[in-house]
Structure formats: C-alpha cells, structure tokens
C-alpha cells in the first residue's frame, strides 16, 4: 500500500480474523484474514449473504468487539475501543423507547459530557438536517420505521463523527421508505452537508450497493472473506434503469452464483457430510420456487434478478432458497441463472404424494444428516432416538445455534417427506408415522 492511499485512509483493517473457540473441537472461523481500507470521501459497501461475517467485521471496525487477530487503525492510531470519530447506524434502529426523539439524538452528546444547552442546539440542528422537525417530542413507538431510522441517523451525525458505519440500515424498512431514505442520505452526502468524511455500509441488497457505493467489497461465506472488489464509477445520482447500472448488477449476480472452488462446499453451506450446516428454509418456499421457475415465462430456466423482482423478493431471501434447491439437486445455479434439473422438473409436475416421495429420495441421497438419522432409527429396535443426541453430535463441528437450526431444518424437511417423525414434547425422532 503506498503512502498516498495510507494518507487518505480513515480506517484500515489488516489481516482481521475472528474465530470462536469450541470446547470440544476445532475453532470456528468467522472472518479469515480480511483486509479493508476505508478512504476519505468514499462510500464503501460490504456486500454478502447473511451469516457471512460482514456484521462481525463492522462491529470490529467500530471498536465494539476485539478481533481474535489482526489490527484495525483509525486515522493511523490503533483502535482499542469505540471512538468518537466513528458512529454507527443499526439495522434495528436501536432507539431508546423511553427517550423522546430529541433525547435520543442528544444521547451520544451526553456521553461525551456536552453541556445541556449546547447539546440541545446541536441536536436540533441534526434533527433539522435529517428532516425530523416537528417530531422532537415524539417517542420512538409513535414513529414509522422510516422516521425511526432518521432518528438513528441524526443520533449518529450529531456527535460529528468522521466515519459513518451502517449495518444494513434500510433492510428493516419497506421498499418505498428505504428508497426515500437512500436518496435523502445520498443528497446530503453529495451536497457535503454532513460532517462525515466516509461511509461504510453493510448490505445484502445488490441494487442498494450499486446505487450508493463507490466501491463494493463482495464478501464470501465460510469463512467470511473479501472475494472481489468492484468499483462503481457511475455518476451520482444513479438511475436503476440505466443499462450500465443493470450490467453492473448482473455482473455481481454472476459473481455471487459462481461455484466455490473448494470441493464439497457450496456457497451457503458450511461443512461437509453430516456436519453440513443447513439454513432454515421451509418446504413451501422450496416448492414455491421450483414451481415459479418451472412455469412460463421461465420454463425451467430463470435469470435471478428479474426472478427476484417478479417474486417481490429481496435477493438475499432468494439466494438461500435457490442454493438449498441446488443442494437437493432440484436446480443448478450458474452465471446468475437458476436452472431446474430433471428431478426439479419432475417434482414440479407431480402431485402431493409423489412430491413427498421425490423429496424423501433427495434427502436420502444429498442430505447426509437426514440419511444418518434415518439409518440410526432403522438400526434401533425401538425405532426411536433422542434429537438431543444428534444436536450434540453436530455441536462438535458447529456452533450450538447452528446445530439447533440444522437439526430443526432436517426435522421439518423429514416431516414433509414423511422420511421420519419427531415429537416435540419428548424431543424424540422416530420412524413411526402418526397416520
């Protein structure tokens, strides 16, 4: 890295690793040697799926958590804790329900020991800037989501930070509100009316990243790492319908659907064999997507961006479903497209009972944990086994939460396929069919 960039840089994260020590076995790596530089006058987006560790990286860059290894410097000094130069905007807004809008905005100033009169003045200025006038005395619960996030923004700006870090700031908002907030924020940024010098935002929305960012860092999962950097040189304000904009979006889709090189791994799913971590995707969503792709106009092959738009899905909702279909060999993902396999097409044309049969076959063949549970149930004379046993087994390989979710997912799939049964009260798997 040359000196010119180093001078421009506000926050530099070097070789950041974050891992969780596991009592039983190997450590769980969430971030693997991540390098990120945030320079003055730029908006950088961290784009990746949920669970890819990008929020962890953001928290490390705010000084909230200390990474297992690696360094983070802010304006050349090592970051040892939350710094006044860095402000954060949260996905959940994180407003204090018992404080009014004004008091919420004043909150950060109070921590800095600013006197009440000065506090009031600065808070009112920030409220004015962010378009919250008239709401000063309202409580957060009286506000809409969009207004709440404006309060979150005002609270972050009022302490005059150099850097604004935003953790999926618009993902809890409806489409229209989110768009208004994005445009307002971009206007303030472009007109230089905010005191901040750089913005880093975490997002899983590809269009949002292309709309707002000067640079996009694509994040890969398992473990989290930067897999690509994309410059966005389009002038602001950007137009979503501009062909150059669409090209860029398509390019990112292609990159995101690219198969990982590591054998036995697909993008979403960590681990191999029975230790494959599964995300909770309902069978309704799976068959819904199969049907949607099978039906005209797609007829078995669909480009992901229009498919997501057509289904009114955020792409991040669609990816896990699509990748689960890939895992179960109902579909293939490549080049930003999803294409149904023969099994997938067959599934789409079948009735309820046949679908269950096909699903059970795919479980048996491609979900090792399901096959493993089924085999053990078959071996036992009672045909029963406690679910606890399998969760424990998985916890040797993954976090407790992931193990719980994985077992739950397999349970739901197996119930749908009538592959095996589960009783919640006793926490037991069995081969018995309630029918």
């Amino acid at each position: 890295m040359n000196d010119a960039i180093a001078n421009k840089a506000l926050i530099i994260a070097r070789d950041v690793c974050q891992s969780y020590a596991r009592p039983s076995s190997r450590t769980l790596v969430v971030l693997d040697n991540v390098d990120v530089t945030l320079a003055r006058n730029e908006i950088v987006g961290l784009l990746g799926r949920s669970g890819s560790g990008k929020s962890t990286l953001l928290r490390a860059m705010t000084g909230l958590i200390k990474p297992s290894s690696g360094t983070i410097t802010c304006e050349g000094r090592a970051l040892t804790g939350p710094s006044p130069a860095i402000a954060v905007v949260f996905q959940s807004f994180a407003l204090f329900p018992w404080l009014t809008v004004l008091q919420n905005v004043e909150f950060g100033l109070e921590a800095q020991g600013v006197a009440p009169a000065e506090r009031r003045k600065r808070a009112l200025d920030a409220i004015d800037l962010i378009g919250l006038d008239g709401f000063e005395s309202a409580y957060p619960k009286e506000l809409s989501g969009g207004m709440r996030q404006r309060v979150g923004l005002a609270r972050a700006l009022v302490v005059r930070p150099k850097v604004l870090l935003m953790d999926e700031p618009f993902s809890a908002l409806d489409v229209l509100t989110a768009e208004t907030l994005r445009t307002d924020l971009l206007d303030l940024w472009c007109e230089g009316r905010m005191p901040i010098e750089a913005i880093l935002m975490v997002t899983h929305n590809i269009e949002e990243a292309v709309l707002m960012c000067d640079r996009i860092l694509m994040f890969g999962s398992n473990p989290g790492r930067v897999i690509a950097e994309i410059r966005v040189d389009l002038p602001q304000p950007r137009n979503r319908l501009d062909p150059a904009f669409r090209d860029l979006v398509e390019k990112i889709y292609v990159k995101m659907t690219m198969r990982d090189q590591a054998p036995g791994q697909s993008g979403l799913f960590r681990g191999t064999g029975i230790a494959l971590t599964l995300r909770r995707i309902s069978t309704n969503l799976l068959s819904g997507l199969i049907e949607a792709v099978a039906a005209p106009p797609y007829n078995g092959r669909a480009d992901l961006p229009p498919l997501a738009a057509g289904l009114q899905h955020e792409i991040d909702d669609l990816f896990p479903v699509a990748e689960t279909l890939q895992l179960l060999r109902f579909a293939e993902l490549a080049g930003g497209d999803i294409q149904l396999t023969q099994t997938g097409k067959h599934f789409a044309e079948s009735g309820v009972d046949d679908r269950k049969r096909i699903f059970a076959q795919q479980l048996q063949a491609y979900v090792p944990l399901a096959a493993h549970i089924r085999r053990i149930l078959g071996e036992r004379p009672t045909h029963m086994a406690p679910a606890r046993r399998f969760r424990d087994e998985l916890e040797d390989h993954m976090s407790e939460r992931d193990a719980g979710e994985t077992v739950q997912t397999v349970t739901n799939w197996a119930r749908y396929a009538e592959y095996f049964a589960y009783d919640e009260q006793t926490d037991m798997f069995s081969l018995e069919n309630p029918a």
């Binding site: 974050q18 020590a21 970051l79 807004f93 204090f96 909150f107 619960k141």
Partner: protein, 584 residues
C-alpha cells in the same frame, strides 16, 4: 430516587426558566398543599420513631378513633421505609449479581432460598438484634418491624431487576458502548430504565404483601418482652385483647383508606410515569392514567421547584464513574479463569459447611431427633392445608375470573377491587373468624385454615382475570364459529389461555399462604385462644415463648417445604406454561 426527577422535567427545566410568568396556576395550589401535607406527616412520624422506649409503656395504645390517623401514619411510614430499603438493596445487590459472575454464583441461589423463608419467623431474632443496637429507643423495635417488612419485599424485586439487567437488548447495549458511556451513565441511561417496568410491578406486589407483615410485626411478643409499636397492627392486637369489636371495625376502615390513598397518590402516578419505559416498539392502545400524575405535569410552580433537582440530576449523569465503556470486548476466546472459579466455589462450600455445623451444633444442645420429626409432621399438616386451600381457591376463582375477564366492562370494575383485596392485610379480619369459631364451637384445625388463604386467594383471581382479558379475539371467534361450548370450550380455549397467568398467581398465593400460616394457625379473641396443629403454630408458639432453637428449626423446616414445593410443583408448571401455552 433520582430517576423520578429525570425525564419529565428535562424539557421543562429550560422551557420553564425561559418563561417570564411564574405565577402559580390552580393546579399548583392543590399540588402544593398535597406536598406540604406529606412533608409535615413524614417529619412528625420520623421524629416519633426516635422517642425513648419507655414512652411505649407509659403511653400504651389507646383505642380512641381520634388516635387512629396517627397510628395509620406510623404504619404507612414503616411501610415506605422498608420499601426504600428494599429498593436500595435491589439496586446494589441485583446489579452486583448481574455484573459479577462470582457474586452471581452466591446471590442468585441465596435469593431463591430467601424467597421461601417465612418472614415472620425472623422477628424473634431481629427484635433482639435491633433492640440491642439501639438500647432504650423505639428505633430498635421500629427497625425490627421495618426489617420484617423488608424481608417480605426485597427478594422478588431484586430478582426482577437482575433478570432485566441480564436481558438488556443487545443493540441498545451496543449503542451505549459505541458512544462510550461510562458504567455509571449506562446504568442510569439504559439498564435502570429498561428494568423499571418489571421492578415497579414487583414493587406493587411487594407492597401488597407488605401490609400483611406490617400489621403482624407491630405487636411483637418475644419471650417476656412485649413491644407494641404505635400503629394499626398494635391497635388491632389491643382491640383483640380488649374484645373491642368496634375498634376492629375502625381498624378495617383505616386500613382500607390507607391502601386506597397509597394506590391513588403513589402507585398510580408511578405506573403512569413508568409507562414510557416499556420497551415495546408499538404504541399501546391503553395508557395507564393517574390524576396525581396529570396534576404534577400541569403545575407550573412544581416545575420551577423541581428544576434544580433536574439540573443536578443532569450534571450527575455527566459523571464518568466506573470507567468508560470504551474498550473492545474480545468475543469467542475461551476464558482461562476456571481455576479461580473452582477456588471461589471451594470457599463458598467451606463457608456453607461451617455454617451448617454451627446451626446443627446450636440445635443439638437443646433439641433431639424427636423435635425434628415433630416439626416435619407439623410441616406436613400445613402442607396439606396449603394444597387443599389452593385447590379450593382455584376451583372457585378460575371460573369466576374467566367469566369476569371475558367481559371488559365487568373486569374494569372488578380488577382494581381484586388488587385492593390482595393488598388488604387479611389478619385484620382474623378476629371476626375467631369469634365465629368460638361461638359455633367447630374444629379449629379445620376452620382456622381458610384464614391462611383469605388474603392470598386474590392473586389467583386477578391474574386469571388478566389472562382471560388477554385471550385474543380471533381465538374466541374461532370457538364461537365452530360452536365449541361447555367442557370442550374450557378444555381447549379458556384453561390453556389463562394457565400461564394462573400459575403466576398461584405461586404468589401459595407462598403467601405458607407465611400466613404463622399468624393464622394461632388466633385469639380476648382470653379465647385457638390453635391448629401445624408448622405455623409451632413457630408462633416458639416465638411467643422465646424458644430460639425451636424457632430456628421451624423456619428451616418451613423453608425446606416451600423450596421443595416450588421445585417439585410450581417450577415445572411454570416452565410448561411458558413453553407451550404462551399466546404471544
């Protein structure tokens, strides 16, 4: 508590000072009179506490209705002194438990056991201790009474506070740390406000229970020493000795007025004020209201008067005590403190073992194995009473509570009444029952028992009402559409829906009944003494005789029974209700 000055006056401090008009408005006058009255009363009552002890013997309790307001005041002050102490205890001990893992290992199990220890049994020891601390002064006996009330109030408040501190939302915590709040600022800005709604609910429950104990602990006889602190409880004891039925009527009336006043003047305003701390993100339809709170908000002079406090509080919050929270937290690293944990644990075990040896040694000198068997047998008798009474009360109040809860109009009227009945110290009504038993000559072993649940059954009622009111309309409509009636309706709709609420109420009722047994199993009217076979009468008699070893044994056995009862019955039910039947 500074919290009270906090938010309400934040804006007004500046706004008011910038107003040129400082003339009082009509609300000011009323508020001013109210405040002055309270101040005068507190000073008067507080001064009386310091009076020498012989004054009590020279001026015994007079059954003159003119003296009753003063007695009521003294009783109320004791109550508030205890509440203040409980609050202090909660803020310190619960915070310690939430912040320090080692302290948590000791405090939480200790609180759990203390919740089950019969409060009234303590009186024997505390009276001796506190009168020794302030020889020749009423203050000693006052402290003993206040301590007894404190022990009935503090534990559940501390529990609630601890639980809230442990469940502070992660994002709010991150915001506080992100802005670099000090530990002191974080406590008052985030943790205390977040814990407020739960704490206030538990304070209300504690206060309700406390009236019972304040009445029971004012007139104390320990061995040959009898102390009658001026108050409604002593008035009642004197009235019973004198067989003065009218005086008992006066006591009931005074108690009713006191409870109504404390509800209107203190708790409703606090609940109305604390509504903002409920950490929900949607506006609730119904806000709690209080005329006193409205009054306080509308007064102008009040604001001027409190402005300096608000200002001081603001400054206090700028303090950066306890170091900045401005450090990154290392997550995911395995902690290497296991050895220290074991050492700490060993110290605790050693101390506990030493204590156990001391207690057993102390008991062994005077008591034999037969005494232990006797106490256990009596414990069983009381257990049977509690179980039967809770079952009976449930059979009666669950259907009634559901009926009421489904009718919002009726519930609106009945709910405050049920809460009032729960707060009303049932021991004030005991003489009436004793009179009836003496007059009819029925078995005391059976008919004294209902007294145990006289005051506590209402917890079942008002919790069930709350549960039934909370049944979602869509569930009720489904039941109506599919014409589910009679038993299936109870089986599939009403009972599962109110069950979590019922369990909450029944736990309180059962705990209260154990405590009440100490007062209820022995009752008198003049010379007529009634006694039921049970652990309560065992402790009561031992207390009156000043027989410390037996009191200790009785308390230990009762704690054992209550703890066992809680673990074996209530906790599993509670877990079941939380897991399967929560509607939200």
């Amino acid at each position: 508590m500074g919290l009270f000055f906090n938010d309400r006056n934040r804006r007004s401090a500046l706004a008011v000072l910038s107003h040129v008009r400082l003339l009082p408005n009509g609300y000011d006058l009323i508020a001013f009179i109210l405040i002055m009255t309270v101040i005068v009363l507190v000073i008067h009552g507080g001064a009386a506490m310091h009076a020498p002890l012989d004054q009590l013997t020279r001026h015994p309790i007079e059954l003159d209705p003119m003296r009753l307001p003063e007695y009521a005041l003294r009783t109320t002050l004791r109550m508030f002194a205890a509440m203040f102490a409980s609050l202090l205890f909660t803020l310190v001990v619960a915070t310690l438990a939430a912040k320090s893992r080692r302290a948590e290992m000791v405090i939480i199990p200790a609180l759990d056991i203390l919740q089950s220890v019969p409060v009234l049994g303590f009186l024997t020891f505390t009276v001796t201790f506190f009168t020794g601390l302030f020889p020749g002064q009423q203050l000693g006996a006052e402290c003993a009474a206040i301590f007894a009330i404190f022990t009935s109030q503090a534990w559940n408040m501390a529990f609630s506070f601890y639980q809230s501190l442990k469940t502070v939302p992660r994002d709010l915590d991150e915001v506080s740390r992100g802005f670099g709040l000090s530990a002191w600022q974080r406590f008052w800005r985030l943790e205390a406000p977040f814990a407020t709604p739960g704490l206030i609910w538990n304070m209300m429950m504690s206060m309700s229970g406390g009236w019972f104990f304040v009445v029971a602990s004012e007139a104390i006889t320990v061995g040959d020493r009898t102390v009658d602190l001026p108050g409604i409880g002593s008035w009642l004891a004197t009235a019973i000795d004198a067989r003065d039925f009218a005086a008992i009527g006066w006591a009931v009336l005074a108690m009713a007025i006191v409870i109504a006043l404390y509800d209107q003047l203190l708790f409703r305003p606090i609940v109305a004020w604390a509504d903002r701390f409920r950490a929900e993100q949607v506006a609730s339809q119904e806000k709690p209201r209080s005329w006193v709170y409205e009054l306080a908000r509308r007064t102008r002079v009040m604001k001027t008067v409190t402005a300096p406090f608000a200002w001081a509080w603001q400054r206090l919050l700028l303090l950066r005590l306890g170091g900045a929270g401005a450090r990154s937290i290392a997550v995911g690293a395995a902690k290497s403190t296991r050895l220290a944990d074991y050492a700490w644990f060993a110290v605790i075990v050693a101390l506990a073992a030493w204590g156990a040896v001391l207690v057993v040694d102390y008991l062994k000198t005077t008591l034999g194995f037969t005494d232990v068997l006797d106490a256990l047998g009596r414990g069983l008798a009381t257990l049977v009473r509690v179980v039967i009474l809770i079952a009976l009360a449930s059979l009666i109040w669950v259907p009634i509570g559901v009926w009421i809860g489904l009718r919002p109009k009726v519930a609106e009227q009945v709910q405050p009444l049920a809460q009032f009945m729960a707060a009303f110290p049932a021991n004030v009504l005991f003489p009436v029952a004793v009179l009836a038993i003496v007059a009819t000559g029925v078995s005391a072993n059976i008919w004294l028992s209902p007294l145990m649940i006289l005051g506590t059954q209402w917890y079942i009622l008002f919790n069930v009402i709350a549960g039934a009111s909370a049944i979602p309309t869509d569930l009720r409509e489904v039941a109506a559409v599919y014409q589910i009636r009679s038993w299936p309706w109870w089986r599939y709709v009403a009972l599962p829906a109110v069950f979590p609420y019922y369990v909450t109420g029944a736990i309180t009722a059962s705990g209260g009944s154990w405590n009440a047994s100490i007062v209820a199993e022995v009752a008198s009217w003049g010379d007529a003494k009634l006694e039921a076979y049970g652990l309560g009468s065992y402790i009561a008699n031992a207390t009156a005789a000043g027989d410390f070893p037996r009191v200790l044994l009785g308390i230990a056995v009762m704690s054992l029974f209550v703890t066992f009862f809680n673990r074996a019955l209530w906790r599993p039910l509670f877990v079941f209700a939380e897991r399967r039947l929560r509607l939200d």
